[in-house]
């Protein structure tokens, strides 16, 4: 691969154009230059879905791109986001909602983009043993006596009502106000008739507990089991391995996985600032290439590499939980209760089903939930949703990275979406726990379908 100077400097412009120009003409035109910035620091939170970053490092994919990456665990999602914004971190494993909310200005305002979606699924909702015992009578059973899944929040509703009657607040934990977990927990609760509460940022209320039946608050992922154990919260929604950890410690029972709430839901993304992408276009494409290769490795040959990935992740400077805890969900099973281990082959999806392609429709789903729960306080047009999604999600960068991998023979074209035809919107998605269909092209119509939540025209 010979590097030609003019092409190096033009790479950024060419990539920008590739989004506008159609077809194959641009594919060969770009020869990827050397990275402008070679020493990078990436942040992550101790969760199994940070795997692509760890794998890209351990398998030398970053180094193959000429990138020397330091990977640092962060204390919580706020510290991580601030790190990316103030430049302490060059990029990070982020909640899908974080770049969107930051660009929109909910919380800290900053233009954050994502060229790479990190995984599908991977979360669960766990309740304490006490709550589980109280829920059990309301859960339909299978013939063998085990509870029928998915378990809906209908079974939790009588428990919450009882707490309310006794005047006790029903507290639950999620990891961040704009986290996938917050929206998934809310979705699940609301689908069972439990109101998770509204936000009203225009009135200065960002607690998200207005009209709430269940009071949701923030706890950093690794501290979830300890907080549940101490009785501060009765349940939580978090990524792995912190649900399986509750099973191993015998302190709680995962009732439902996010795979059951919304099959193949987009989860984490890799976030960088817009400034970084503009200043270092080659570096951006190269890190995306490394992450794509890591994701491919993770899903290769029907998850054949997962045991090795588990071994890497269990090292104390990555996720650090016990190997068997991480393996439980990473290798295609999920243990709901001690002894109730069921196959969930797609619990962690890193590459297949185009998991890494940053679909606009995924961003828009998060926006619809932000609107539903009042984080976006007033009505927005369908155009507004689409424009914001296009500012944050950058399939153009992903495409440039994927195409160069295909050119170099490191990947095959059929492993990716058909870039020439792809418009960034998934076909209407049907696999939600409440049966409501999501079409990313019509966000306002989607918001109006929910029995609980703000609808168009409504303002607190």
């Amino acid at each position: 691969m010979r590097w030609k100077k003019p092409f190096g400097t033009l790479a950024g412009a060419a990539i920008f154009l590739s989004g506008l120009l159609s077809g194959t003409a641009t594919a060969e035109a770009v020869e990827l230059g050397y990275p402008e910035k070679e020493e990078l620091t990436f942040g992550f939170i101790k969760l199994t879905d940070m795997a692509p970053i760890a794998i890209a490092y351990e398998k030398g994919f970053f180094e193959d791109e000429g990138l020397y990456v330091t990977i640092e665990a962060q204390a919580n999602w706020k510290v991580l986001l601030d790190g990316v914004i103030d430049g302490r971190l060059d990029g990070a494993h982020m909640l899908a909602g974080q770049p969107i909310a930051a660009t929109m200005g909910f919380g800290t305002q900053a233009e954050i983009i994502t060229p790479f979606s990190m995984d599908l699924n991977g979360n669960g909702i766990t309740v304490s043993n006490t709550i589980w015992e109280q829920m059990k009578p309301h859960i339909p059973k299978r013939e063998d006596g085990l509870p029928a899944r998915p378990i809906k929040a209908d079974a939790l509703k009588p428990v919450v009502e009882q707490y309310q009657a006794e005047g006790k607040p029903f507290n639950m934990g999620m990891v961040f106000p704009v986290s996938t977990h917050n929206y998934e927990l809310r979705y699940w609760l609301a689908a069972g008739g439990i109101h998770p509460g509204f936000y009203a940022p225009h009135k200065g209320d960002i607690s998200g507990q207005i009209d709430a039946d269940a009071l949701l608050s923030v706890t950093p992922p690794p501290q979830m089991p300890a907080t549940l154990e101490s009785g501060t919260i009765y349940g939580y929604c978090v990524g792995e391995p912190w649900n399986q950890q509750a099973v191993f410690k015998g302190i709680g029972v995962p009732v439902v996985t996010d795979y059951e709430i919304w099959k193949d839901n987009p989860e984490k993304v890799f976030g960088i600032t817009k400034k970084f992408a503009e200043q270092y276009p080659n570096t951006t494409i190269r890190l995306t290439r490394a992450l794509i290769r890591a994701a491919m490795w993770l899903d290769e040959n029907n998850n054949a590499n997962r045991p090795e990935a588990v071994k890497i992740l269990s090292q104390s400077h990555y996720v650090g939980a016990d190997r068997e805890v991480i393996a439980n969900s990473m290798t295609g099973t999920f243990e709901y209760e001690k002894g109730d281990k069921r196959p969930v082959p797609d619990f962690n999806v890193f590459f297949r089903y185009n998991a890494t392609y940053p679909y606009y429709s995924d961003a828009i789903w998060y926006l619809t939930q932000m609107r539903r729960w009042g984080q976006i306080p007033e009505d927005k047009s369908d155009e507004w949703y689409k424009n914001l999604a296009k500012r944050v999600y950058r399939p153009d960068i992903y495409e440039a990275a994927a195409r160069s991998l295909i050119t170099e023979g490191l990947a095959k074209a059929e492993q990716f979406p058909d870039f020439d035809a792809e418009d960034g919107f998934r076909a209407p998605q049907t696999h939600f726990i409440d049966g409501i269909v999501y079409n990313g092209r019509e966000p306002n119509a989607y918001i109006d379908k929910f029995p609980i939540g703000l609808k168009s025209g409504e303002k607190l």
Binding site: E38, E39, E63, T70, A75, G87, Q223, S314
Partner: protein, 331 residues
């Protein structure tokens, strides 16, 4: 102003005198009794640990902790091997690129892997010593000035009394924000996290040194002061010849207290601010929640205690070396 170290020292001396009638008794005191103490402690620890069930398994006993020391060391070894391979790959890559692109300024970047437990110990030690030395540079001149001038003493006293009891954890957010604002270079030579920890340590170990120095200077013997007056020594000479030598014991007492505070503060600061070092190691292990975590934390606790002890001992040796008043430099 006296400190608690004097009292314990005296008690210890008194006990030594009681038993020093024969050699065997002295030997008993020096070796057998401490060894018994340690053994009883290990026994209690083992028995106690067996009876404590945490959600991460049993509380680690001495054996589990000892095994973790081994594991931590072999992790360190593995990391060193990886580091060597990293540099090797980097050299090859640089050579390849230079062949294609002669303008490239090849440089060798530092190893990007994680710090091991042993690296973290080094980081903590460097941080605590830098913070402590910075504090000494400020505190000792300030203490001398306060000790010499009752007016300055009266002026500074309220501030010192208020800031002295402040916990490092209260300072930390302020330090972090100020450092981020003031020290805003794109490519810092010294890491911000290091500066944060260092300044927090400095702020907390400043006060014992200022107070002890001031007290030492203020309580210089009248006769000595009179000598200085008779000789009409100039101000600087007065400080150098009379005040400093006379107050050295108290200054060192202050420094010893400060270093103890500094070490405690540092661990807390590293824990809270996620700055590299032993405190972060403890916090990371707590977050990991693996079945080895508690044993690894306990290993860190032992190391932290041992280093604290060594720091204190070395300060004591320094104190003995510099001090004319051997009474104040006991255990």
């Amino acid at each position: 102003m006296t400190s608690s170290t004097f009292n314990t020292g005296k008690i210890f001396n008194w006990r030594l005198q009681l038993t020093s009638r024969g050699q065997p008794l002295r030997l008993l005191n020096l070796l057998a009794l401490p060894a018994t103490g340690v053994l009883v402690f290990l026994l209690l620890w083992t028995v106690g640990a067996r009876n404590i069930d945490t959600s991460l398994g049993k509380f680690p006993g001495p054996v589990a902790v000892w095994e973790q020391f081994g594991a931590l060391y072999s992790e360190h070894q593995r990391s060193r091997d990886k580091e060597a391979a990293f540099y090797e790959r980097q050299r090859e890559r640089n050579a390849r690129r230079l062949a294609e692109d002669p303008d490239y300024e090849a440089k060798i970047r530092d190893y990007t892997g994680k710090e091991t437990f042993i690296d973290q110990i080094g980081t903590s030690l460097v941080t605590v010593m830098s913070g402590f030395l910075l504090a000494a540079l400020i505190a000792i001149p300030l203490g001398i000035a306060i000790g010499l001038s009752p007016a300055l003493n009266a002026a500074c006293n309220p501030i010192i009394q208020v800031f002295k009891p402040v916990s490092p954890l209260a300072w930390l957010p302020l330090v972090t924000m100020v450092v981020s604002a003031v020290y805003a270079t794109p490519d810092p030579i010294i890491a911000k996290s290091f500066i944060n920890s260092m300044i927090t340590v400095t702020l907390c170990c400043l006060w014992p040194m200022v107070i002890n120095t001031a007290v030492g200077v203020a309580s210089v013997d009248r006769d000595l002061l009179n000598v200085s007056k008779v000789l009409r020594l100039p101000a600087l000479e007065h400080v150098r010849r009379i005040v400093l030598p006379a107050s050295v014991p108290m200054i060192f007492t202050g420094m010893r207290l400060s270093l103890g505070v500094a070490w405690m503060v540092l661990i807390a600061a590293e824990m809270l601010a996620q700055n590299p070092g032993l405190g972060k190691f403890v916090w990371d292990e707590f977050q990991n929640g693996s079945s080895d975590s508690l044993a690894r934390i306990m290993a860190a606790v032992v190391v932290i205690g041992f280093i604290g002890f060594l720091l204190d001992r070395s300060m004591l040796q320094l104190q003995r070396f510099f001090s004319w008043d051997k009474d104040t430099a006991t255990h």
